[in-house]
Symmetry: none
Subunit: 82 residues, 2 copies
Amino acid sequence: MSDLAAPGDHNGPESGLAYLRVADDIAARIASGELAPGTRLRAERELAEYYEVSYGTIRRAAEILRERGLIQTIHGRGTFVS
Amino acid sequence: MSDLAAPGDHNGPESGLAYLRVADDIAARIASGELAPGTRLRAERELAEYYEVSYGTIRRAAEILRERGLIQTIHGRGTFVS
DNA sequence: CCCGATTTGTGCGTATGTATC
DNA sequence: AGATACATACGCACAAATCGG
């Protein structure tokens, strides 16, 4: 599965910083086309469960992706791939 | 602009305690009218980045400003100039 | 027009580990 | 040894925006 709209299992070699690990993973999925532009990501709190990190960590990762222009977040609606 | 709702750059002569430096800076901005009453400050975690200090230091600075009656913090809403 | 569900936004309190003074 | 500060991270509570019924 590979997409962030359908949970499965997660993986990661526990490399360093949690928020970077998450940000890089999502960025890779966008780059690979797995997450197409316009696609809505799962809710931040769901991503937290998916990645097994806290909500705050997801918010950090999202902030990074926002700065990179990879995603766009709308209050009350969700987060979308740019 | 120089407001805490739109980042720019910052600089400081590393004078003494970090939380006092931050508190004094914000107090000065309020005193100068740069931050008008009712204005909402940026999120504490953003202020941490802005001032290049840790989140805990921002919380400490905010506590001081609250005691001085310069700001008012509302859970879930934000911090406002009194 | 209001109500409730969903989702993002913000603040609160705390913990761990590291570095510096 | 102790105090100050930083960086990261967790979990929770409350608030606000959006959408559908």
